[in-house]
């Protein structure tokens, strides 16, 4: 199961029971009705048939996050999109655990806006920042009339660009700050070890040829210009290649 196409992802999603939080998601719910049989390998089907169980994001938030991540890293012939790679699951697990609660973040006031070179200066933890910004975004989109998940891709891109550009206030979260964190975490979820719940099936690593946690190139280093071909390895895979997902790894030794 080297490359999951978007089509096979949709099929496999449909094979699972949808988590309650995702029930409000029209695109995927529709896909679920159309879903049929057949995944590529038995091992893959049992894994891919799962659907993220969202614990941090509520149903409304999931609609935005899933669609936004997929626009940031869309599926195409090059490799998996953020949805196939379970990037929203990565965000959900990171934001719902220690990192989202402000692990390693200096949190004392007084608070004031700084210069760009002074970096992040808001009192929000990452979890608080996402909930706050997403509430404001969904309220904004309700006023505009079309839920994010039902917009065209171009309209979704235009909305994301309006966040990226800045200037919008999302209940105290500057839109550009939220967008920056969303993009950074999307890239993290795409390329991090699958132990964290994203980069499913190491598909993003396969796309670029990164061998992952495999790490011994003593013999290969001076074979100049020869492509190193090896299936990537997760730090959490067992002898059968199954990856034990456990996102709660502390940001310390």
């Amino acid at each position: 199961m080297d490359k999951l196409s978007r089509r096979s992802f949709v099929k496999s999603v449909g094979a699972a029971t949808l988590a309650p939080a995702a029930l409000g998601l029209p695109a995927l719910a529709a896909a679920a009705e159309q879903a049929v049989h057949k995944a590529s390998t038995p091992a893959a089907s049992s894994v891919a048939a799962e659907k993220p169980l969202y614990l941090f994001f509520n149903a409304e938030e999931v609609v935005f996050i899933e669609a936004a991540c997929e626009r940031l890293i869309p599926a195409d012939a090059t490799g998996p999109g953020a949805l196939e790679a379970w990037v929203p699951n990565y965000l959900d697990k990171q934001l719902g655990a220690a990192w989202g609660s402000g692990e390693r973040l200096y949190r004392s006031g007084p608070w004031q806006a700084g210069t760009p070179s002074q970096g992040y200066q808001l009192p929000f933890t990452p979890g608080e920042l996402f909930h706050t910004a997403l509430r404001a975004i969904n309220a904004d989109l309700k006023l505009q009339g079309t839920p994010f998940g039902e917009m065209t891709a171009d309209a979704q891109d235009a909305y994301l660009k309006s966040l990226e550009k800045g200037g919008k206030d999302l209940d105290g979260v500057p839109a550009a700050v939220f967008f920056d964190m969303l993009l950074k975490m999307t890239v993290e979820g795409y390329f991090s070890d699958p132990v964290y719940g994203g980069n499913k099936d190491m598909a993003a690593w396969k796309m670029i040829g990164f061998p992952g946690a495999y790490a011994n190139y003593y013999e290969a280093i001076d074979k100049h210009g020869v492509k190193f071909e090896r299936a990537p390895m997760s730090l959490a895979q067992n002898g059968h290649g199954h990856v034990h997902v456990d996102p709660n790894i502390p940001a310390s030794l």
Binding site: D76, E103, E188, F210, A213, A215, I221, L235
Partner: protein
């Protein structure tokens, strides 16, 4: 009331590379030494083992080995007219914590500075005239010479087992080495590392252009090695998880693999971890230290009396410890008076990306922290600056250290930052791009300094260190010039597209550059412009020695660790052969 402990001869604040070496030497000489380390004890086995250490998210992005901002941050501003705000998460620089300190997560790049660097102020005036320097630069000579440090560089390199090729052996230039090198008494203890493809391409192009490429000196070793302490290291396997990581293979020279096994066996030494030193205590004369006060991991306060105090923590923390203890006069940029916190400098980092077609395959993930190829033709004062309007320089090298993809996914300038085009560019260029590092010097400047923040506190209620820093005009001009030279090398390699990225101001804390923070407890010959004398002894409190990159009066073109190591053995020499035989001020002001 703090519990008062039994007197010891020496207390060492910070058990990283500097602290481990000094403690080992003094304990072996018969002194009772206590090492206070704020972080956790940690060892190659069981703490640094794979595959769990090969985790980019945990170590690169979440910075698992670094000082915890939640407990101890640094505040920052570009100029003293601004309000400094806390660096709430590290990005620009990464101070480590725990046994072994920042040395655990270094890359093993092991350069010597050049003879000229130690007399930079004098030599600059001699070569270019008194008016050549920008008026606000505050560069000065070190007070110690390269010749004095050479035996200590040598000793430190043999402790590490550094892999390299001499360029100047007892005055004779060696083919294949760095011809700009200052004279060394013997070759490196182990031969150079295998060269990666990027290094080989760079070597060919640089040679064609008339430059002098040589293998990066590496303290990830090319072969197994037993150091003079009897500690064994292994050969590096180019795993690509080096900087920001601890090495699982015993192949990177860090305190755990070079000295701690010997130190921890000596009954004269006691290691106490989880101990946050609050201050060095002074007697009523303020000219003598009586020991230190620290708080342990359980929150209990202790006073540890000692005849001699060594501060051997990260450069920024050395400065803060003196400020918290009231040792030395704090620097005031308005008057230019005072010394503690003066001459804070950094490093001026630029880069070049050379993009190739699919037929050039570089496998960027195969790397050690220091197996590149570089030139010193534009470093230090190795080229004529007369018409250039700046001093200093940078080494230029293909010193690729990893292909970890959250951080490493180069795309040509102008590529979208997200979406289909970005993704396709990432996939297209990941395995076909060569990055150069342009590792530039940083001149000290009157308005750049460190002091205590008036507002923000650490978890123990003590003021955070406040950093006021922006790049001097001189250094940005240097970055522009040397990056231009590096772009020419990228073109000579035959790259399809070459993108130069010279460092621009203002300095930002939001982007990783280096962890080479220097100065603030500068060494020198004049107490009006230095915190310690040439023996690294406090001018004000003679039984306090301060050792680290905080001693650098300005920061030359190379990574600092080898010079910190040389200064450490220099300090050991001054302590054992002078100070401890007759305690008192070693240099009359």
């Amino acid at each position: 009331m703090p519990q008062k402990l039994k007197d010891v001869d020496v207390v060492v604040v910070g058990v990283g590379m500097v602290g481990s070496i000094i403690a080992k030497e003094l304990a072996a000489a018969g002194y009772k030494v206590v090492g206070l380390e704020r972080g956790q004890p940690r060892f190659t086995v069981p703490d640094f083992q794979g595959p769990s250490v090969h985790d980019e998210l945990r170590f690169d992005i979440r910075k698992a080995l670094m000082q915890d901002n939640a407990r101890e941050a640094v505040t920052f501003r570009n100029q003293s007219s601004q309000t400094a705000l806390p660096i709430r998460r590290w990005e620009s620089f990464l101070p480590g914590t725990g046994l072994g300190g920042s040395h655990v997560h270094w890359n093993g790049q092991t350069y010597r500075f050049q003879e000229n660097d130690f007399v930079l102020a004098t030599k600059t005036r001699e070569r270019y005239g008194a008016d050549f320097l920008d008026a606000d630069l505050t560069i000065q000579d070190w007070g110690v010479s390269y010749a004095e440090l050479e035996p200590h560089y040598d000793r430190f390199e043999y402790l590490l087992g550094t892999s390299g090729k001499a360029g100047n052996l007892q005055g004779k230039i060696q083919p294949g080495g760095d011809p700009f090198e200052s004279v060394r008494s013997r070759d490196y203890p182990t031969p150079p590392m295998k060269e990666h493809f990027q290094g080989a391409m760079f070597r060919k192009a640089a040679t064609e252009l008339g430059y002098h490429p040589y293998p990066q000196p590496s303290s990830n070793l090319s072969q197994p090695y037993t150091n003079p302490e009897g500690v064994k290291l292994n050969a590096c396997v180019f795993c690509g998880f080096c900087e920001r990581y601890a090495c699982e293979h015993y192949a990177k020279a860090v305190p755990q693999t070079i000295i701690l096994p010997v130190l921890l066996k000596n009954p004269n030494f006691e290691l106490r971890t989880g101990c946050q030193v609050q201050r060095i205590n002074l007697d009523s004369s303020k000219k003598k230290a009586t020991g230190v006060t620290y708080i342990d991991a359980a929150g209990r306060e202790f006073e540890q009396p000692a005849a001699l105090v060594i501060t051997s923590s990260f450069a920024l923390n050395n400065v803060r410890m003196l400020l918290l203890s009231g040792i030395g006069k704090p620097y005031d940029p308005a008057t230019g008076k005072g010394v503690v916190g003066r001459n804070y400098a950094y490093q001026t980092m630029s880069s070049v990306a050379s993009f190739f077609d699919d037929d050039v395959i570089v496998n960027p993930f195969m790397a050690s922290g220091a197996s590149g190829t570089l030139i010193n033709d534009f470093a230090g004062d190795n080229f004529d600056h007369t018409k250039l309007g700046f001093i200093g320089g940078a080494f230029v090298g293909a010193v690729n250290t990893n292909g970890r993809p959250i951080q490493y996914h180069p795309v040509p300038p102008g590529t979208a930052t997200w979406g289909k085009d970005w993704k396709q560019a990432v996939a297209k260029h990941y395995n076909h791009t060569v990055m150069f590092s342009i590792h530039g010097s940083s001149m000290s400047q009157r308005q750049n300094y460190l002091d205590l923040d008036p507002t923000y506190k650490d978890a123990w209620g003590q003021p955070l260190l406040r950093m006021t820093f922006d790049f001097p005009r001189n250094d940005l001009a240097m970055a522009q010039y040397v990056t231009g030279k590096a772009v020419e090398i990228g073109k000579a390699m035959g790259a399809k597209q070459v993108a130069g990225n010279p460092r621009k101001g203002p300095y930002t804390t939001t982007q990783y550059q280096t962890t080479h923070n220097t100065g603030g407890t500068v060494m020198g010959t004049d107490p009006a412009t230095s915190v310690v004398n040439k023996s690294l002894q406090s001018w004000d409190v003679p039984n306090v020695f301060i050792v680290g990159a905080s001693n650098f009066p300005q920061n030359p073109s190379w990574n600092p660790t080898n010079t910190i190591g040389a200064l450490t053995y220099w300090a050991v020499d001054q302590l054992k052969n002078k100070y401890l035989k007759n305690p008192g001020q070693l240099v009359s002001a």
